[in-house]
C-alpha cells in the first residue's frame, strides 16, 4: 500500500508501523468517576468495520510522525491522511475553548 503522507507525499506502507483504531487517541480521564470502565472500553473494545476506518500508522522509517489514516478495510482505498498531533491538538484546543466559554458563561 501507499500512504500519502501529508508532509512528505506518497510513501510505501513498509516504512510504517501499524497500530490500529485511532480511538486509541481518546484516552480516558484517570480521575473520572467510572475511569475503570472507561479504560476497559478504551483498551479492549474496538469496532472492526468492513469499510472506512480511522487508523493509526507510525512513520518509523521516516519522519517519526504518527498519522491518522482513513482507510477502507475492504478495498484498501485511503481517503484521508492527517498528522495525529494536529488532530489531537485541535481536539485539546476546542476542549479548552469550551471550558473557557463555560467558565465565562458562569461568570456572566
Amino acid at each position: 500500500m501507499i500512504i500519502n503522507h501529508p508532509l512528505l507525499g506518497p510513501r510505501d506502507a513498509a516504512e510504517f508501523v501499524y497500530l490500529g483504531d485511532a480511538s486509541l487517541m481518546n484516552r480516558p480521564d484517570w480521575q473520572s468517576t467510572d475511569a475503570g470502565n472507561q479504560f476497559y472500553e478504551y483498551q479492549y473494545l474496538r469496532d472492526n468495520p468492513a469499510g472506512e476506518l480511522r487508523e493509526l500508522w507510525y512513520h518509523e522509517q521516516g519522519d517519526r510522525s504518527w498519522l491518522v489514516v482513513t482507510r477502507n478495510t475492504l478495498t484498501h482505498a485511503i481517503s484521508k491522511v492527517e498528522l495525529a498531533r494536529d488532530v489531537k491538538l485541535q481536539e485539546i484546543n476546542s476542549k479548552t475553548k469550551t471550558t473557557a466559554a463555560a467558565k465565562k458563561g458562569k461568570k456572566a
Binding site: M1, W30, Q31, Q43, L56, E60, W66, A84, K88
Partner: protein, 982 residues
C-alpha cells in the same frame, strides 16, 4: 541431426547456430529460438508425460500458457524443474530433460496408469485412499508422491543468486503486443516516465507471429522499428524477459526480470531480479490466449493450438508438421491455414465446426464445414484424425482453434470479476480494477489488430493527459481489421474417447461431468475437486473450456456459471527470487558494539542478541568450559573490578519544559521531583497494566533527561513514547531523539571500580562517595578532555558505574580501561556473567518482564503511583490482577546443591501431582552462582513473598525432571545494598 522441420523466414539468426541437448541427444537450433521451436525444428514432438496418466504429450502452445512441455532445465545444482520449453531461450550448451516418466520417455513404465484411468477419475484421491486410515501416511501418500508430481528438484542448495529492487514510473505498460506497443509509443512520446515490460525476449507479442501489415510495413518490421524508437527515448525503460506477476494495492506491481536465464552462465551476477514497481497508472495490454476444443484423444503430440503453429512458422521458421490439418470454430483458424499454405505447408484438411461459407480455398485440402473430429490415432504423435462421418485423414499436426480468451489475470488480483461477452465468446475485465489500471487491446475484448493498435494509442493519450503530460499528435499505427468472427463451440459431444480439457492436470470432459453429477456445482468447487486449472499454467488454456462444459451440463449459461478468478503470480516465480540477496548472514543487519574489535582481538565468544553481536564471555587461555570463564568473570568482578559493554541498552534523549510531566505519564513511578544530577529506576507498563520495560533515567538539567531502556525494547519504547507525545499529549513541550548509537557505554563494577575510574577521570571532577554517591550522574571529561557522562548505577549489585563517551572513542576507552585496570586485575565480563550477577542480585530482566507479569508480581507494586496518571496504572488496579494469591518474584535454590535448576520448570506444592490445577508458578531465570556455589534461580510463585523457606517441587515437563527447591529471597547477594553505596 538436421533441422528437418526448419523452413525459411522468421526472426531466428541463421548465422548463429546453437548446440543443445534434450534427453542427452544433441541437436542444433538457432539464436532466437525457444527450446520448443528448436525441438519442433528437429522434428521432436514427444516432450513429456502427463501428470496422472503418464500419457505422451507434446508442445501445445508457443508461450507461457503451456501446460505440457515442462522440462528440467540445466543439470547438477542448477537443475530447474517445470520449466516451460516454450519460453526457454535457446543458448549454447543448453541441457534439458523431459519429466514425469520412469525409464525412457518413449517407454514410460508408469504409462500403466493410463489403463487404470477408470479408477483415477476426478476425486479419486478422496474416494480411494480413505481407508484404512493408517495407510495414508505409510503407504498411499509416499506411493502417490513417487508416482505423480512433475519435475524433480536437484536437492542441492541453489547456486544462483537473486536480487530485488524498486522502480518508479508514471505509466507502466504491461505487454508489448499491438495494443501495448502502441500505448508505450504514445506514453513515451508524451514525456512521461514509462516502463514497458514483456515476458518475451523480443517486443511485439503477436505482431511477431503474424504476417499482417501495420502502417505499410510487415507487423514484424513494425514491432522492431517501434522497439528502436522506444529504446531511443531516455524516459522509457524497456524490460524484456520481465513478467508482471502481480497487481497490488495503489499502483504497485510485482515483476520478475530474468537477467541471465538466456545465457549459459550467470557469471556471478543475480540470475533474476524481483522488482517492486510503483506506478501512477498502469496499462494492461496482456493480449489474449487461444483455447483448444476438446475432442477424443486430443492430447497426442502434434495436436497444437492453431496460433502456436502460426507462431512457429512465422516467427521461428519452423513447420511443426508436414501434413497439417486445421480444426476451428472461428475465422482465425483460417488465417493459420493461409499463413501455413503461404509457407509451403501441405494443408490436408480444414474442419470448421460452423455451417458457414468456407473462408478460402486451398489446393489439395479437404474443407469440411460443420465438421467434427471425434478421435485421433498415433502412438507418440498424431498420425490421423477421424471425423464424425467416419472419414479418416492422415495428418502429423492438428492446429486447433477454439477462440480467444482475453487475458484478464491481473485484473482479478484485487476485486475484479470478469464478465462474459457473448459476441467474442470470452470473459472481459469487469468489477473493480486495481487502482490506476486500464485494460486495452485484446485483453479488454478488442480482438482485431487495428482495434488493438487504436485502443493502446488512445488510452495512452488519455492517461498521459490525466497525468499532466501533453500527448503527441501522431496518429495511431494503421492496420486493417482482420476477419474475427467466432462461435461458442467447446467440445465434440460425439467423441466417445476421452477428451482432454486440462492437459496439465489430466482433466477430461467426463471428469467435469462426473464432478457435476457428484454435486460440485460451483466453479470454485469444480476447480478444487477435479484440479482443473491448477499447477504451473493456472488453467490459462483450460479454464474457460472447463466451465463451458460445466455450464452446459448444468443447463446454465456461461455468464450464469461465472468464472474462477486469478491471484498472483501470473506465472511461477522462483522462491529464490522472493528471498533475493537475503541469504545466510545477510538475512538481517548486524549491529556491532564499540568494543567489538577489541573483544574479537582478545578472543571473545559472541552471541546474537537481537541484531547485536555481544560478547558472551571472554575465555582465558587454558579454560576449556564456558562455565570456567563465566565463573571467573563473576568472581573477579565481585572481588575487584569488571567491565562490560552495555552500549546496546536503548538511550533516549528527552528535553523540554514539560519533560518531567511527560516522564510521569510514561513511567508508573514518579519522576517530577528527581533532582538534577540524579538517576532513578523507572518501570513502564502497558496500558493494560502489564509491565513491559524498565531502566534508569538521569536528569542532566532541569529540562533534560536521558533514559535507558532494555536492549530488546529500545525501538518499542521510543515508538510508544512518540505515541504518547503526538497522539495523547501534543500540548506538552517535550522532544525525543535516540542517542543509543551516539554513546559507547561501559559498566565498571566491583569494589575497585572507583579506584579504576579515578585513574582516568579528569582531576577537576570529584567522584568520591560523598561527592558522587549512589544514583548520581554527571557530565564529565576523561583522559584529558574527552567528553563523557558518568552514572553511578548498578545492575550487578556491586559498587558500579556506567561510563559513556561519544561512540568514536568507544574503542579507545575499552583499551584505556583495560590498561588502567591492570593493577586491579580488571576483568572484562560478558553477557553470561552479567546474567549471573543480576540473578544473584535479584534484578528482573526480560525473562521476568515477559508480557504476563505486573508490577505487583515483580515485587514492584509500590512503583505504581496512585497519585498521578500513568500509562497502565488504572487497569493495573483490576481485581483479578491484585488477588491475594498473585504470583510473586522470589529466589529459588535446589535442595540438593549438586543439582542444577532449569528455567521453565513449574512449581507445585510438595506432594501434589504436577497438573495444571496444582500449578503454583514457574521458574524464569537460572544460573550457577560461583559465590554461593550452587545453582540459583528467579521465578514466580503464588504468594511467594510469604513463603520464604518453604520447599516446593519444580516440575520440568519438557526435560522430564522433578526436583525439590527452596523458596528464598530474590536477593542472593548483599540484600541490604551495602556494596552499592560503598
Amino acid at each position: 541431426m538436421t533441422q528437418s522441420h526448419r523452413i525459411n523466414g522468421g526472426l531466428v539468426s541463421r548465422n548463429q547456430p546453437v548446440n543443445f541437448k534434450f534427453n542427452n541427444t544433441s541437436y542444433v537450433g538457432y539464436q532466437g529460438d525457444t527450446l520448443a521451436s528448436a525441438l519442433l525444428a528437429n522434428g521432436v514432438k514427444l516432450v513429456g508425460r502427463s501428470f496422472k496418466y503418464h500419457r505422451p504429450r507434446g508442445i501445445l502452445t508457443a508461450g507461457s500458457e503451456e501446460p505440457n512441455a515442462l522440462v528440467e532445465l540445466r543439470s547438477g545444482a542448477h537443475q530447474e524443474p517445470n520449466t516451460r520449453a516454450t519460453t526457454v531461450e535457446l543458448f549454447e550448451g543448453l541441457e534439458a530433460k523431459s519429466q514425469n516418466h520412469r525409464g525412457p520417455l518413449k517407454y514410460d513404465f508408469m504409462a500403466i496408469n493410463d489403463l487404470m484411468s477408470p479408477f483415477l477419475a476426478a476425486g479419486f484421491y478422496y474416494k480411494t485412499f480413505m481407508w484404512p486410515k493408517a495407510f495414508w501416511e505409510k503407504l498411499y501418500e509416499p506411493t502417490i508422491r513417487a508416482a505423480a508430481g512433475l519435475g524433480r528438484l536437484s536437492g542441492q542448495e541453489d547456486p544462483d543468486s537473486y536480487d530485488k529492487g524498486f522502480l518508479h514510473c508514471d505509466i507502466l505498460v504491461i505487454g508489448s503486443g499491438p495494443a501495448g506497443i502502441a500505448a508505450a509509443l504514445q506514453a513515451g512520446r508524451s514525456g512521461a516516465q514509462v516502463i514497458l515490460a514483456d515476458e518475451d525476449f523480443i517486443f511485439g507479442g503477436r505482431l511477431n507471429s503474424e504476417t499482417m501489415e501495420v502502417g505499410g510495413e510487415s507487423s514484424q518490421a513494425f514491432a522492431a522499428n517501434a522497439t528502436d524508437e522506444l529504446a531511443a527515448m531516455p524516459n522509457v525503460r524497456l524490460m524484456p524477459r520481465t513478467t508482471i506477476y502481480g497487481a497490488y494495492d495503489h499502483g504497485i506491481y510485482g515483476a520478475i526480470e530474468r537477467k541471465t536465464d538466456h545465457l549459459g552462465s550467470s557469471n556471478g551476477k543475480p540470475r533474476q531480479v524481483l522488482w517492486r514497481i510503483y506506478s501512477k497508472r498502469a496499462i494492461l495490454a496482456g493480449g489474449s490466449n487461444e483455447r483448444p476444443i476438446a475432442f477424443g484423444n486430443n492430447d497426442r503430440p502434434g495436436i497444437m493450438l492453431a496460433s502456436a503453429v502460426r507462431t512457429y512458422a512465422n516467427r521461428f521458421g519452423v513447420l511443426p508438421g508436414k501434413r497439417i490439418s486445421i480444426f476451428t470454430n472461428n475465422d482465425d483458424g483460417w488465417r493459420t491455414a493461409s499463413d501455413l499454405a503461404a509457407k509451403g505447408a501441405q494443408i490436408t484438411a480444414i474442419i470448421d465446426t460452423r455451417d458457414v461459407e468456407p473462408l478460402g480455398a486451398f489446393k489439395d485440402t479437404a474443407i469440411i464445414m460443420g465438421g467434427r473430429i471425434i478421435d485421433t490415432r498415433g502412438r507418440h504423435g498424431v498420425s490421423s484424425i477421424t471425423l464424425r462421418n467416419g472419414q479418416t485423414i492422415d495428418t502429423d499436426c492438428v492446429a486447433v482453434s477454439g477462440g480467444w480468451n482475453p487475458n484478464v489475470h491481473l485484473t482479478c488480483h484485487q476485486r475484479g470479476r470478469p464478465q462474459w461477452r457473448e459476441d467474442i465468446a470470452g470473459f472481459v475485465p469487469a468489477g473493480e480494477m486495481p487502482i490506476g489500471m486500464s485494460v486495452v487491446g485484446a485483453a479488454n475484448g478488442s480482438m482485431t489488430l487495428a482495434a488493438s493498435l487504436n485502443d493502446g494509442h488512445l488510452f495512452a493519450n488519455k492517461i498521459a493527459k490525466e497525468l499532466g503530460f501533453t500527448p503527441s499528435r501522431k496518429s495511431a499505427p494503421k492496420a486493417e481489421d482482420e476477419a474475427a468472427k467466432t462461435s461458442a463451440y467447446w467440445y465434440v459431444k460425439e467423441s466417445t474417447a476421452r477428451a482432454w480439457v486440462d492437459q496439465q492436470n489430466d482433466v477430461t470432459v467426463k471428469d467435469i461431468k462426473l464432478s457435476h453429477q457428484e454435486g460440485f456445482r460451483s466453479v470454485e468447487h469444480l476447480k478444487r475437486y477435479t484440479t482443473l486449472g491448477m499447477a504451473t499454467d493456472q488453467g490459462k488454456t483450460s479454464n474457460i473450456l472447463g466451465l463451458a462444459v460445466m455450464a452446459e451440463v448444468s443447463g446454465k449459461t456461461i455468464a450464469e456459471t461465472g468464472t474462477t478468478i486469478f491471484r498472483p503470480p501470473y506465472t511461477p516465480v522462483p522462491i529464490g527470487a522472493f528471498g533475493g540477496r537475503v541469504r545466510g548472514k545477510d538475512f538481517k543487519p548486524t549491529r556491532y558494539t564499540p568494543s567489538h574489535t577489541w573483544a574479537k582481538e582478545n578472543g571473545a565468544i559472541f552471541i546474537e542478541s537481537g541484531m547485536w553481536m555481544r560478547a558472551q564471555w571472554h575465555p582465558k587461555s587454558g579454560e576449556t568450559h564456558w562455565r570456567e570463564s563465566v565463573d571467573r568473570e563473576v568472581l573477579a568482578t565481585r572481588k575487584s573490578v569488571g567491565i562490560c559493554d552495555v552500549t546496546t541498552l536503548g538511550k533516549i534523549d528527552i528535553q523540554g519544559k514539560d519533560a518531567a510531566e511527560f516522564l510521569n505519564l510514561v513511567y508508573s513511578n514518579a519522576f517530577g521531583k528527581l533532582p538534577v544530577g540524579k538517576v532513578r529506576y523507572g518501570l513502564m507498563l502497558r496500558e493494560d497494566g502489564i509491565a513491559y520495560d524498565d531502566g534508569t533515567t538521569a536528569r542532566l538539567a532541569e529540562n533534560h533527561f536521558v533514559m535507558t531502556t532494555t536492549t530488546a525494547n529500545a525501538v518499542l519504547v521510543f515508538r510508544r513514547m512518540e505515541f504518547v507525545r503526538q497522539c495523547l499529549r501534543p500540548d506538552l513541550d517535550v522532544h525525543l531523539i535516540s542517542v543509543t548509537e551516539q554513546w559507547a557505554q561501559y559498566a565498571i563494577a566491583g569494589p575497585n571500580a572507583r579506584k579504576l575510574l579515578e585513574k582516568i577521570v579528569d582531576k577537576k571532577h570529584n567522584i568520591s562517595n560523598e561527592s558522587f554517591p549512589f544514583m548520581a550522574c554527571g557530565e564529565i571529561s576523561i583522559c584529558d578532555g574527552t567528553p563523557a557522562r558518568l552514572f553511578r548505577i548498578s545492575f550487578s549489585g556491586e559498587l558500579a558505574y556506567e561510563l559513556a563517551v561519544p561512540t568514536r572513542y568507544g574503542d579507545a576507552l575499552i583499551r584505556e580501561l583495560m590498561d588502567a585496570g591492570k593493577e586491579f586485575d580488571v576483568t572484562p565480563y560478558g553477557l553470561e556473567a552479567l546474567g549471573v550477577m543480576r540473578i544473584e542480585k535479584g534484578h528482573a530482566a526480560g525473562n521476568e518482564l515477559n508480557g504476563q507479569t505486573t508490577a505487583l508480581n515483580l515485587g514492584l507494586g509500590k512503583m505504581v503511583s496512585k497519585k498521578k496518571d500513568a500509562i497502565g496504572s488504572r487497569l493495573s488496579e483490576r481485581d483479578q490482577m491484585n488477588r491475594d494469591d498473585a504470583i510473586k518474584l522470589v529466589g529459588f535454590k535446589p535442595v540438593d546443591s549438586s543439582k542444577s535448576l532449569t528455567a521453565g520448570a513449574h512449581f507445585v506444592t510438595k506432594g501434589k501431582e504436577p497438573t495444571m490445577a496444582h500449578d503454583q508458578g514457574y521458574m524464569t531465570s537460572v544460573g550457577y552462582s560461583p559465590n554461593l556455589k550452587t545453582s540459583i534461580g528467579l521465578g514466580f510463585i503464588k504468594r511467594g513473598d510469604q513463603r520464604i523457606g518453604e520447599i516446593v517441587t519444580a516440575f520440568d515437563g519438557l526435560r522430564g525432571t522433578t526436583q525439590d527447591v527452596e523458596i528464598v529471597s530474590p536477593h542472593f547477594i548483599d540484600p541490604e545494598g551495602e556494596r552499592l553505596r560503598a
